[in-house]
Amino acid sequence: MKLAYWPGCVSRGFTPELHGAMAAVAPKLGLELVELDRANCCGAGVIAEHNQELVDALNARTFALAQKVDGAAGMMNICSTCQGAQSECQERLDADAAYRTHINEHLEPEGLEYEKGGAWWNKNFLWLLVEEIGLDVLRERVVRPLDGLRVGPFYGCYIVRPTRRLGFDFYPDRDRYLEQVIEACGAEPVAYAGSHKCCGFPVITLNRETSLRQAGRHMADALDAGADCVVTPCPLCHLNLDLQQPEAQPFVERDLGMPVLHLPQLVGLALGLDVKALGLHRHVVKTDAVQDKVAALAAAA
């Protein structure tokens, strides 16, 4: 399947291990990714807060670039926040023809146009895995079932709320996909209080205490529920849960040491990819315990 691919800024900046893992996993799943290297940041909710017309024009530009990729089935992103921010703009663009025409005027000098199309979609890798590739196909391709690995899902707000905007009418299980993918990889999903809550990233520079209390609490809950690691489809969540985890510890008054995997890393492990190729050594919270469990599996097989 050929896809227009928006990796997002963070995967190319502060979480390069995500970008690398996705590149390694794609061919294993028969995905051909055409990276949108001329596209711009989705605004992550901040540009929307500043000016709606601006953010709608910027994301319409990304959609238009994606629609120009010849033979692409649709557009894929690997960031819950991109998904939410872009879906918000798409909702407005699709709702009102006059508004869409007006926004398209900003793209015209560049020869671009966003076309509303019933069949055109923009999906996070998580949605794509379940809806376009299919869990059966994923299961077939798993060569190293992650037997005994206990994984806590962490979705990220932007990919589960608001449900009306995010297509839950049509795909009501979108808030259960992570559990389904964890299972398809042969691992065991762990339920804990924070799985669908907020990591606190958007206020890390505005109210550090609120932000780190959220991150710390969720990791502590996952730890108490017996998770070996958590997995997230959002690199911004990863920043607050992994990069900031040592800073979050004092706010919950305990040591955490909870490894946080990116979704393509978990899938890559099950597809038999090497831990180095997946960048598991490039995390702040050491992933050694996860690596050891996986190595033991490989030895057993």
């Binding site: 190319r12 601006l54 932007y158 608001p162 809550k197 958007p202 206020v203 040592p246």
Partner: protein, 364 residues
Amino acid sequence: MPDYTLKIRRFDPESGRPAYWQEFGVDLPEERSVLDAILRAKDEQDGSLSIRCSCQAAICGSCGVRINGMSRLACNTKLSEAAEDGRNGAIVVEPMGNMPVIKDLIVDMDAVHWKKVQRVVPWLLPEGDPPAREYIVDPESMIDVTQSMACIHCGACVSACLSLEVDPEFIGPAALAKAYRFVGDPRDAHTEDRLLDLAEDPHGIYDCTHCFACVEVCPKDVAPMDQIMRLRRRATADYGIKDQNNGYGHEKAFTDLIEKYGTLSEAQLLPKSYGDGSLIRAQVKPAALKELGAKFPTVIRGLTSGKVSPKTALLHHKLQDQDQIRRIYEEVESKEDRLELNLYIVGESGGEEEGATSEGGQEE
């Protein structure tokens, strides 16, 4: 008639007993509400079961509870729908969150919700003597606040708010939505004071983590988070309020970086946002230095863990077509009024034929 099982969290502080769960079986048709089922159980099985309610038509806002973990109106939730999301065949009903429980499903709205609503001065503060007859306002200008007026004070958003969960002092979604109702009202004369107050408060508009929980649960589509974003927009763009929480700096730094590079560079975002968008100022402002110092270990950790190379941290490349991004910025920002499409007013696909946009922004 289908048989439904309700699993209700009970608590009576006067009993000396801790909270406990109790199950009730109720026979009612599937289109009846969870409130109907609770009242039936109270009527036929245990008269001490307590819940607040009145209108039974999603108008009075008194029957807010959590059903299968979601904050909602009991009278507005069908049994069939609730049973579908239920756990182990039971519909789980709990009192709302983030507020103390008085008894069973009744929470103390005064202690949290109403106190916070009062905090935002929820009445009109016009200037000078009132006109001899009515106030005349441009109908267009009132459209912008209709959404925030739809609130029925049920407290569902307060119950679901993920910032409140970790910071009980956060002013919260319902009260901030109410604040916008007056900030957006052209008759009010204290717009700037109101915004200044809410921007400078560490538990004000910049303490919202943008989690959409309030948007998801509100039975009246008030979208409190959207109202909070409107407050931020007015505070920064219209009044240039440089708050101590760094809300202004963060927004300005982010928006400017995209204008300059097209994509985001986190390494620059941090220092710039503490200097109200300027790298230089960040290095001379004492408060900015302190905050940056607190962040320094994080950046170093990013480098030493091999996560980020010094090259990515320090060099950020411009997009190929950066002049196009800059042109779009200029076209949009050079306008006098901001263009906003509010789907609450237009309807989700209702505007497909004609455009119905509202011009927000500065009136003075």
